[in-house]
Amino acid sequence: MLKLNNIYTSFAKGTVDEMKLFEDFNLTVNKGDFISIVGSNGSGKTTLLNLICGTLTPDSGSIVLKDKDITALPEYKRSRYIGRVFQDPKAGTCSELTVLENFALADNKNKCYALGRAINKKRIDYYKSLLAECNMGLEDRINTPIGSLSGGQRQAIALVLAGMTKVDLLILDEHTAALDPKAAETIMELTHRLVSEKGLTAVMVTHNLRFATDYGNRIIMMHGGRAILDKAGAEKDALQVTDLLGIFNEISIECGN
């Protein structure tokens, strides 16, 4: 489904600060996978997602999505196949537009943005039904500018929007990190439902080890630009939060802390 082959990525190339992050990095994501990625700060999780989404291009190596080489495809063209939710709840929606206008725009994804009427009144009930599933009372606030909603509410909408049109791959970068525990729980539950109902393939970065063990069928731990742990299926199910914590400790001892 998605393949990263022999990826090399470095920052500040040619300066004294040159930092090689990925060296010959490989990853295969199978169709229907729901992968949780954990790892310490600066281990390269966001960079990995940026490579997949096209925000960054690798120095060398190739990225293949559904047998199509997308290495050189700009970010906006990859969005056709990829939905993404960011850590920052402000990033996934337009704050000055109303909830309805955000929905109308996302509903038209992958179609032409021409001179037709932006808002199709017949779709409003559908949008409301999607909002009602969030259980946040958002269905009554369809004409509110997104900017006056709370972070959790915005994130819920961002998630719904990202999954509304058909995508092959859903990318989630710490999308519950800015939320309170209750809201994080709700969003995680929504994510789970979205992924399983639509049969999506998903890659989720999280610092919440319980989410990482409870959800998904595969777990990857990153460290210094390498995947130091990659477990799927039954092996993953056997993994407990305490096991992961143990590995984290081992790494930091190795690093000399």
């Binding site: 700009p74 970010e75 906006y76 063209k77 969005s79 056709r80 939905g83 993404r84 960011f86 402000k90 990033a91 996934g92 929606t93 337009c94 704050s95 000055e96 537009l97 206008e101 109308a104 725009l105 996302a106 038209n108 994804k109 992958n110 032409c112 943005y113 021409a114 001179l115 037709g116 009427r117 932006a118 808002i119 900017g147 006056s148 909603l149 709370s150 972070g151 990202a162």
Partner: protein
């Protein structure tokens, strides 16, 4: 009666500049792009229109071509910014500087013979030149309203019609998918990318519209100047921005008023202020300074209002 004359003057000016200000609403408010190109495209619009009229062609066609020419050069600014990554202010300076030559060459090419680069007036409309005044509702609207102290009326009506048509078209456009996408582009480019659209394309379209409107504004202005003047474009950024900001900060709280209406009112109010200042007997050499001072005042007031609003918003979130 003299008062009526002044009212007529600032209404005419206000309507002309309301179109410029609506253009600024698109590039500055919606796209967050401080566009200096208008100083050039305003004059381009005047030149294109002037050439049509001076050559006896249909002035309405001239107005449309003025709009198109503005769009083209606005798009050039957009391309410089999007494709070459040049900063907004620099793009505007580059294109408006280049346009000085384009405008002059355009006049030389379009007007056989009687153009002299050393004078500031580059096209002058003679008595028999058929401008929009003659080509539109010529018989329906009297040129002057006799009963009200000889107030010229036809020009005012024409400016009103053009401004309102521009406003309605812009309002309609902003309700389309493309228009909504434009608003999203100014707000959150990442979101636009996730819709599978290149935000750069939206920016180019927005700048084209903004400068098209500036060009129409310049074309209308030729009516009050009886021709085209080399210095016409100077100060247009200030007029456009001031009108825009006066309108949006004065009427910011009014919910059920389209932003374009606010901007139009802002342009008229700004011109009214200028007329009042002139009536106080200040020499006309101080005009531009006064414009800048009024603008500064508005900016300060506008920022205060914005901060208040921002505070409320933050408290809610």
């Amino acid at each position: 009666m003299e008062i009526l004359g002044s009212v007529e003057v600032f209404l005419e000016m206000g309507l002309i500049f309301s179109i410029l200000a609506m253009g600024y609403y698109v590039s500055y408010t919606i796209l967050d792009f401080p566009d200096l190109t208008v100083e050039g495209t305003y004059l381009t619009g005047a030149v294109v229109f002037g050439l049509f009229v001076a050559n006896g062609l249909n002035p309405w066609l001239g107005l449309i071509c003025a709009f198109v020419s503005g769009c083209i050069f606005g798009a050039v600014t957009g391309l410089l910014h999007v494709k070459l990554g040049i900063r907004p202010l620099l793009c505007g300076i580059l294109v408006s500087t280049g346009l000085i030559t384009v405008n002059l060459v355009g006049v030389t090419a379009g007007l056989a013979g009687d153009f002299k680069a050393e004078t500031t007036s580059i096209i002058s409309f003679g008595r028999d030149t058929a401008t929009l005044q003659d080509a539109f509702l010529g018989d329906l609207i009297p040129i002057r309203l006799k009963s009200l102290g000889n107030i010229p009326l036809r020009m005012l009506v024409i400016f009103l019609v053009v401004a309102v048509v521009c406003k309605i078209l812009l309002d309609l456009y902003l309700k389309t998918k493309n228009g909504l996408l434009l608003r999203a582009t100014g707000n959150n480019q990442q979101f636009v990318k996730m819709l599978g659209v290149d935000p750069g394309r939206s920016k180019i379209i927005g700048l084209a519209i903004g400068n098209g409107f500036a060009a129409v504004s310049g074309a209308l202005y030729t009516h009050t100047a009886d021709g085209v003047n080399q210095s016409m474009g100077i100060g247009m950024v200030v007029i456009g921005l001031a009108s825009l900001i006066i309108g949006t900060s004065l009427f910011g709280k009014v919910k059920f008023m389209a932003p374009t209406t606010k901007v139009m009112l802002g342009a008229i109010i700004y011109q009214a202020c200028l007329v009042v200042v002139q009536k106080l007997g200040i020499p006309s050499a101080y005009n531009k300074l006064i414009m800048a001072v009024i603008f500064t005042l508005v900016l300060v007031l506008g920022f205060k209002a914005k901060r208040k609003n921002g505070g409320v918003k933050n408290a809610k979130a």
